[in-house]
Structures are given as C-alpha cells and as structure tokens.
C-alpha cells in the first residue's frame, strides 16, 4: 500500500538536503507540485526528529543532524571500511593524495570512505558519490573483477540506460585492468601521469576498490617503488579479506542491480 504522506515527506527531505541553498515552504511547494499545506505538515514532521533544521533565516530549512547521522551510520555498516581505513591513512601519508574507498551497490560504485591527502592540492569528494561502474579508475577496478556474466549484464544495463561510454573502450579497459592488476585513469591536469585504483578481492571477485586520487603514477614508469609500496599495502588488505571471508559477505546480494538507482530530487533553480 502506497503511503502518499510518507512519499511527500521523503520528497521534501530529498529536495531540502540536495538543494544548493536553504529552501522555504513556497519554493518546495512549487518545485514538487505539492500543496503548501502538505509541505508545511512535512516540514513540521521532519523538524521534530532533526531531519531538517531552520536555517539562519527562520522561514527556510536546511539538512538536519539526523540525516548526517543516517549517512554516517550507513557507511559504518561496511566492515571493509574499518579494515581499509588504517591502510588508507598510510597511503595518504606516503602519497600525499586523497585515498578513496568504493564499493559496488547495484551497477554503481559508491564512495564510502575517504582519507584526505596532505598535498597542497588534493581531490575532494563527497561520501555517497555514486558513479556507474566504468566511470573512473576506482569504479573500473571493481568492474574488471566482477564475474564475466556480471560484466556483460552491466554493459547491457549501460546501453539500456543510455549511459555514455564506448562498449569497446570499456571492454579494453577491463582487459588491461585485469592484466595489470589495477586500474588507471590518465590525469587531464598532469601530462603522462595517472590516477590509480586497486581492487579488493574476495574469491577473486571485486568487492571494493582503494583509489589514489591524484597523479601518482608516472605512465613511463609503471614499476616505480611508490606504486610497489602502494601495491604492498593494499595487498595486506587483500590478505586479511582472504583469511576472514565471512566478515565481508555482500550485504546487498538480495538487491537486483538493474533496479538500483541513485539520484537527487528535482533541482531547485538558483535565483
């Protein structure tokens, strides 16, 4: 049975939490085409448990602490995160770059962990960022190590969803990643250098990836000592996963990946 009131509340919450500025009831009513009385009721309900808060202008609303806690609690549900964090901290130290941890949910790679680098310029990413499984080295590092049948299904899904990307180019990227053992993505701002991402494997299946989100790889020196050190550190994670497989069972195995969607509500036009 569809709960229309709950649907409206979640639509209001999605809009407020993804808007670039605080929103008032009238703006929300206009964007979502919901009666203003229903918007007021939704706001009142969301305020009670801290899902939204009043912004400095009392007539507008912003994300509340309950949403931040929900997101953090979701990220904390992945045991791979706790296993990887100390190693990500070490990688951030030795490379100076931001280190990312992504897991597959549906046909997306989702950022569930990030350790900021120490360089003057670093990559800044929002936790929860979801990219299709071929977009970025971190995503490709997972896709390349899914079973062949899953990789084919992904490519079919991509085509149905009209997601940009050349099938042949992706298949080539998968092949190279499997051969090399890690994925690379040339850095447009640093000639001849690339971003690197390493798969985390369970029974040879990609369950996560650790990405070094900066131009750490010299494309003319793929065997550099730094890359060797990074491989060694990620290798320790893979050793641990291999020894404790029960800790890392796929908590999303019951999801049909074709039905998983990520996205925000109607975007508010900047005034």
């Amino acid at each position: 049975m569809v709960n229309a009131s709950a649907r409206e509340i979640f639509e209001v919450l999605k809009l407020i939490t993804t808007a670039p500025k605080p929103l008032g009831a009238r703006e929300i009513s206009f964007e979502l085409s919901i009666q203003i009385s229903k918007v007021h009721r939704a706001i009142r309900t969301l305020l009670l448990d801290g899902y939204i808060e009043r912004s400095q202008s009392a007539a507008t609303y912003v994300t509340g602490n309950a949403v931040r806690q929900l997101r953090r609690a979701f990220f904390s549900r992945f045991p791979i995160r706790q296993t990887c964090l100390p190693h990500m901290q070490l990688l951030a130290f030795i490379t100076g770059e931001t280190i990312s941890l992504r897991v597959p949910i549906g046909w997306y790679s989702v950022l569930i962990g990030s350790v900021s680098g120490t360089n003057e310029i670093i990559q800044s990413q929002a936790l929860g960022d979801a990219k299709p499984l071929h977009q970025s080295a971190s995503a490709l590092a997972i896709l390349a190590f899914l079973p062949k049948e899953a990789r084919m299904r992904y490519l079919d899904w991509m085509k149905r969803k009209e997601i940009p990307g050349s099938r042949r180019g992706i298949e080539r990227g998968i092949e190279e990643t499997r051969m090399r053992g890690y994925a690379i993505e040339p850095a447009p701002y640093a000639p001849d250098r690339a971003i690197v991402a390493f798969p985390i494997l369970l029974d040879r299946r990609g369950i996560a990836s650790i990405g070094i989100e900066g131009p750490v790889l010299d494309l003319h020196d793929l065997q550099s000592p730094l890359i060797g050190r990074c491989k060694e550190i990620v290798g320790r994670v893979n050793d641990y996963v291999a020894k404790h497989p029960d800790q890392f069972l796929d908590r999303h195995s019951e999801l049909d990946p074709d039905l998983v969607e990520f996205g925000s509500a109607a975007r508010v036009k900047d005034s």
Partner: protein, 282 residues
Amino acid sequence: MAKASASDGRSSADNGDAQVAISKSSFRILRVLSHFVERGSPAGVTELGHELGMTKNMVHRALMTLLDHDLVARTEGQRYDLGYGVLNFGGNDNDSDIRALCQPYLRKLYELTGESLFLSVIFGKTRVNIDGIEARGPRISHVQRGRARPLHITGNARVLLAFLTDAEIRQYIAAMGPFETYEEGKVRSEEQLWSEIRSIRQRGYTIEQGEVVGSLPIATYVSFPVLDATRRPHAAITVGGPAERFTLGRVDGYLPTMLEIIAELNRQTRLIPASPAFYIDA
C-alpha cells in the same frame, strides 16, 4: 524530541509557532528509520516493536514504506537494516570538521560544570587548542587558542598521545626525550610516560592538577579522548577550572555524566576516520 499526541492519525505539536498538524504515521516511520542509527545493527520486527514501544503491525507498516524507498533493506533471517536510499538525501559529510562535531558537546559539558572547555588536536609533535568555551567569573581557566605544547607535557596532550599506536609513541619518545630535561610537565621518564599511557587507555580519561603554588595545586583538568572506530584520536576535550572550586570531589561527582556526554560524542566520531598517520613526522 517533542512527542506527538494521538487522535485520528494526525497530531499537532506546538513549539510556539502557529499550530501545524503533523502526520503521525510518517512520524513513526521516521522514528523507525532513526532507530537503526541508534541501534547500529540489523533488527527484526519484534525487536523493533519492543525497543520503540510500537505494535508489530505499526513497525511492519513502517518498514514496508521504508523498503519502498530503499531506506531499509532486508538482510539475513528476516531482519532489516539501513538501505542505500539514505544516500539520496544529501549531507554535508565534512568529516574533517571536528570542531563543528564537538561544539554541541563542549556546550553540554560547560552547562554541566560551569568550567572552561578546551578542544585540542595533534599537530606534529604538539597538541594545539583549536576551540573552547571560556567560563565566566573572577577566576577561570583561560582557553589559549593556538598555543602548542609537546605531547607529553599536559594531561590533555597525553590523552592524545595515548591513543596513537605504540610504534608512533616510541617514535615520539625517540624524538623528544630525555624528559627530565623539560622544566615543565609532570612526566620525568619514559617509564612514567608509558605507565600513564596504559592508565589512560584503560580508564578512558585523565585527571591532572596543574601547577602548584606552595603545596596547593592551582587548577584541575579532566581530559577525554575523541576517537574514531579504530581508536585513533580525532581530538581531546578538557574541562578545567581553579582547584579551589573545581575540586577532585566535584570532578568525581560530575564524572559519570561527563563520560556519558563523551560517549555520545564518540558514537558519532567513531563513524569518521581520524586524520592520517603523519602526526609525529610533521
């Protein structure tokens, strides 16, 4: 959290604004969703009903709605847990802003004790105060923002040091010893430092009475760690006041509540990784 009164499924809550009805069923759905945060693990319908004081029917209806929106997902054994749909709600996951996270808890500790609060972080081989609340009154502990002290010198610095790894602590000792050369601070030897580190790790806080005039201490400080899930330190929080007012007896009286406040903060910060392991070499 305001409670909604029952009538025909819609209820009113008055916070001084114009009365606006809320949707009671939606309110229950949000309560079920929030409960997964507090709970930290999957749960079945019966458990949730018991923990939330709701009937199984209410819980089941709420869960079905949350399932529809992918806000919960089914797990093994007919249980439920948070689903990926929560990521469709944007959030400012500014995990590096430890000050913003700690601020409400500094406020709670201040309201409890009336004494000054300090928030400190590690910077290289020192601890630095980055925030605080200064108490009011003729005699208070002064919050000196930006002041750097070596990591073994004061109680709140040692609380930060204690939750680094043993290898990092040995590295610090090698760089900063021998301690008997320092004019300030109570730690005079490596053995003494390790003893205190073990004590802090076990107890989860430290109490120090700083500076002595005649035979009487001037101030009392209680320091607590703010940790991530791997028990690395984000920061240390210290409550400090003049010893004649902030006595050890008063500290003992406040301690259980202070520990509860810090535990609540650590439940949030444990979800965020602490800064990289470059402390000592900076």
